[in-house]
Symmetry: C2
Subunit: 217 residues, 2 copies
């Protein structure tokens, strides 16, 4: 019995941006559905006692440097927004509204939201800006109106709260975080290990050399 690949993330996380931009091409050959699951990382921080990376002494400086070099390596535009991290409620709520109608379109919206924020530094705490990102993925003004109504509804709040509590109950405490067949993978740099799992479905010693995840060519 194999499960979907669950891709958990907070829209404000740079490492999640790198994962979002690359995960589809990376995992394409495994033919496993990838379910995108935005949640609120702040809730996990309350449990683990951690703080946002860019606000942590030493680790923050390291992370900023790390994001720059990963962007270079991946050939992705990246500019850290002045306000980081941002409160991603409106983005995540929009995601789930679009997902109810079409999960594939929701993923396109998610990627557009990541790009808007990390390439062009669009402030997605402003609902109007989130709607601008969403507009191309909506059928027309009627859907836009529905989305606006949803964003301010108790239902949207409740949806995001329940998704986030689902994340915590399954020990998802970081972003990005992948779950597949009950196996957890935390961080962008664990994609190689996730791929190894998708290939083999078990952990075997690899005496033939460095493990696949760390082979350089």
């Amino acid at each position: 019995m194999t499960s979907d690949v669950e891709f958990w993330f907070d829209f404000s996380s740079p490492y999640a941006y790198f994962a979002a931009m690359t995960v589809e091409s990376r995992l394409a050959r495994y033919n496993r559905p990838v379910v995108w699951r935005p949640f609120l990382l702040g809730a996990a921080f309350k449990v683990t006692g951690m703080s946002p990376l860019s606000q942590t002494p030493l680790r923050g400086d390291y992370a900023k440097r790390d994001w720059e070099r990963l962007a270079k390596i991946l050939g992705l535009p990246f500019r850290l927004p002045q306000q980081h991290p941002y409160r991603s409620q409106a983005t995540a709520r929009s995601y789930y509204w679009i997902e109810q109608h079409d999960p594939t379109v929701a993923i396109s919206f998610a990627k557009a939201a990541f790009r808007a924020h990390f390439e062009r530094n669009v402030d997605l705490q402003i609902t109007e800006n989130v709607l601008d990102v969403a507009r191309p993925f909506l059928a027309g003004p009627a859907e836009l109106k529905e989305l606006v109504a949803w964003l301010y509804s108790e239902g949207a709040k409740e949806k995001l709260r329940s998704v986030t509590s689902d994340a915590l109950s399954r020990c998802v405490f970081g972003s990005p975080f992948f779950l597949v067949d009950g196996e957890p993978f935390w961080g962008w740099d664990r994609l190689p290990l996730l791929e190894r799992w998708l290939e083999t479905g078990e952990w075997r010693p690899d005496f033939g050399g460095p493990p696949a995840m760390v082979r350089t060519q």
Copy 2:
């Protein structure tokens, strides 16, 4: 101008154990000296506000599972000691005493200390146990006596204090942590990125496919 590869770690860190057991074979082909630098991670935690992994909710459970699977993949014996992390002062002080006499022997001692603790769960907070690990690397009873004197000396305390403050002043806040040519690499899973650096000495976009660090074959 290229620098040595500095390998910073705390003897009580499981990820450092994995790095210590593999770093020499992984980096052999780059012909760059690797300098081992044990320090006290607790001092860095005070600055970053972090706590030992195994004592952090959610992250602790993840780490324990992660160590198990990495040990399997690397084909290394691994058993998490009941008391974790341990205070690694005596181990690190012994390391620096042996290093003054012979850096190569010190590295052999370091690997033996990691193995004693993570394979056989030897309690290295007990100085007598550290001496047992050190004995095969000493010339005889005279050297053993000198080492014992050093362990309790003000000089040993000062040496470890100054190494640890050197680590912090250079933003080394985790274990393992690598520094080369001023470029920082945090974590066992960043060895592939370190290797890429040693190969190219710069960060270039890699449009030809997934970056080398994440290639699976």
